[in-house]
């Protein structure tokens, strides 16, 4: 089976000469939940932007062997339009694609209900809490019915409980919609909880040093966070991350 997307020797340097990423080689299959984990500034976000087509790579390529799927993007900040209601924010992708009003509204309502915001359609972003704003942002991504969901440290700014509840909701949406998710995070525990696979990246320019497959139960909850299985997964990710950091510290001190 050909992968959903392939990154081949993907690299990105910026105009100021900073090499942010790569070369990175990675295949991602349909239905996977892949976390990119690495220290700040290792080019994880850059990788997502290149995959989304928002940045052109300096070298290498992103290929979609089965054609480019519909892509959803969730940023670290909710990135909502403050002048628009939750509903109008959620339907943005559909409006931009000139979908007819009635259908766009129905789809946006469904998306909001799925992230637990039924009844908040008319609320403006400033009336919502940080977690709810992030839910609107996820609903907006879902409204376009993506196959591939790119998430750039989406829950980093939230408190721990909100974050855990969004983690669980995200897993549910991933399963229900057969989504492929690429999830950037710097949290070892978050990656170990969510992912079917964790890709550990080195400090700048980011390369993948470890590719860890995690056997996960379909149903994960607060108990799972206490389990040995979860602790083992987190331990493996943590060890690779320490290894990646240590190697680069040796390299940079030489």
């Amino acid at each position: 089976m050909s992968p959903l997307l392939s990154l081949t020797s993907l690299a990105k340097s910026f105009a100021n000469g900073v090499a942010a990423l790569g070369p990175l080689d990675l295949n991602i299959n349909a239905g996977e939940f892949v976390s990119l984990v690495g220290p700040s500034g290792c080019g994880k976000s850059t990788a997502l932007r290149v995959i989304a087509g928002l940045l052109a790579p300096s070298a290498g390529a992103v290929t979609f062997p089965n054609g480019k799927p519909e892509i959803g993007f969730v940023f670290q900040e909710p990135t909502l339009m403050p002048w628009a209601s939750a509903l109008d924010n959620a339907r943005l992708p559909l409006d931009l694609k000139h979908m007819n009003r009635g259908e766009a509204e129905a789809r946006a309502r469904t998306a909001l209900a799925r992230v637990g915001l039924f009844g908040f359609e008319r609320a403006f972003p400033r009336e919502l809490s940080g977690g709810m704003k992030m839910r609107v942002s996820i609903a907006r991504a879902l409204a376009a019915e993506p196959k591939l969901l790119l998430m750039d440290e989406p829950f980093a700014a939230l408190d721990e409980l909100t974050r855990q509840s969004l983690n669980d909701d995200l897993l549910k949406l991933w399963r229900e919609d057969d989504l492929t998710v690429i999830f950037v995070t710097h949290s070892v525990f978050e990656s170990a909880y969510l992912s079917s696979r964790v890709v550990v990246m080195t400090p700048r320019p980011g390369r993948n040093t470890a590719d860890i497959a995690l056997m996960q139960p379909a149903e994960r909850d607060a108990h799972y966070r206490m389990s040995q299985q979860f602790a083992d997964g987190a331990g493996r990710v943590s060890a690779s991350l320490r290894g990646a950091m240590a190697n680069s510290e040796i390299a940079s001190s030489e």
Partner: protein
């Protein structure tokens, strides 16, 4: 402090000041050509009601026309700037030159070009020049302030430049534009008045000219009456633009947030 008091206190201060003024003028027999009593100003207002209202209308229509042109022109040019770096680079310095050159200094030139038989057109142009720049510069800044992640998101969903401009950049710029309109509304009035002082008598006789005329004839009470009308006009413009700002922003913009936290 509750809202009623916030309105009542300044009104009470105003009434007290006017009463004191009336008392002092009467008590010390101040000559009316130095400082007329409020009652005399009111009498002059009633007596000259028709001419003052006609002048008010002249000044008001020039101010509003200049303001409307400034908003339309400023927003249009700012939208053009946001779409083309070249147009902005080419034209922005000239907009600045127009702004920094004192309107009083340009007035005689504009008068000669337009011709003394069309003084109202000259006044309109001069008031426009004064009111135009804040709209242009603030709207340009606002259009450039759109959230970069949102721009990326629009691009991800294949938005056209037109969609980015109307659905993202323009709403982002709206609070900047409305702030600039409050400044420009006042400036349009100042421009119309200053220009009339410079242009002198002609076909248009606005409030500024009534003030000059009354001053020359030592009708100080009438001068005060015209002055009061000008202030009232300025205040009315400010309040209407504040109301417009509130109507458009209060549901979503931070500036309209009540201190509820």
């Amino acid at each position: 402090m509750n809202r009623a008091l916030q309105i009542l206190i300044p009104i009470a201060v105003g009434i007290a000041a006017i009463a004191l003024w009336e008392f002092l003028v009467r008590h010390y027999n101040v000559p009316p050509f130095v400082l007329p009593a409020p009652s005399a100003i009111w009498a002059a207002f009633v007596e000259n009601f028709a001419t003052l209202m006609a002048s008010l209308w002249t000044t008001l229509s020039i101010t509003l026309a200049a303001f409307a042109l400034a908003v339309i022109g400023g927003v249009t040019l700012a939208l053009l700037f946001s779409q083309s770096r070249i147009v902005e680079t080419a034209l922005y310095p000239y907009a600045v030159i127009l702004q920094v050159t004192p309107v009083v200094a340009i007035a005689p030139l504009i008068l000669i070009w337009v011709g003394f038989e069309h003084i109202d057109v000259a006044l309109l142009i001069l008031a426009f020049i004064v009111a135009f720049f804040p709209i242009l510069s603030n709207t340009t800044l606002g259009l450039k302030s759109a959230d970069h992640n949102l721009i990326d998101l629009f691009r991800l969903y294949g938005a056209s430049r037109w969609q980015i401009m109307w659905k993202l950049q323009f709403p982002t710029a709206l609070p900047y534009l409305l702030g600039a309109m409050k400044v420009s509304g006042g400036l349009a009035l100042i421009g119309a008045v200053v220009a009339e002082f410079v242009a002198g008598s002609g076909t248009a006789t606005g409030l500024a000219w009534r003030i000059v005329e009354a001053g020359n004839r030592l009708q100080i009470a009438k001068m005060f009456a015209a002055l009061a009308l000008l202030s009232t006009l300025g205040i009315a413009i400010f309040f209407m633009l504040s109301a417009l700002e509130w109507a458009l922003l209060h549901r979503w913009h931070e500036s309209a947030l009540k201190k509820e936290r």
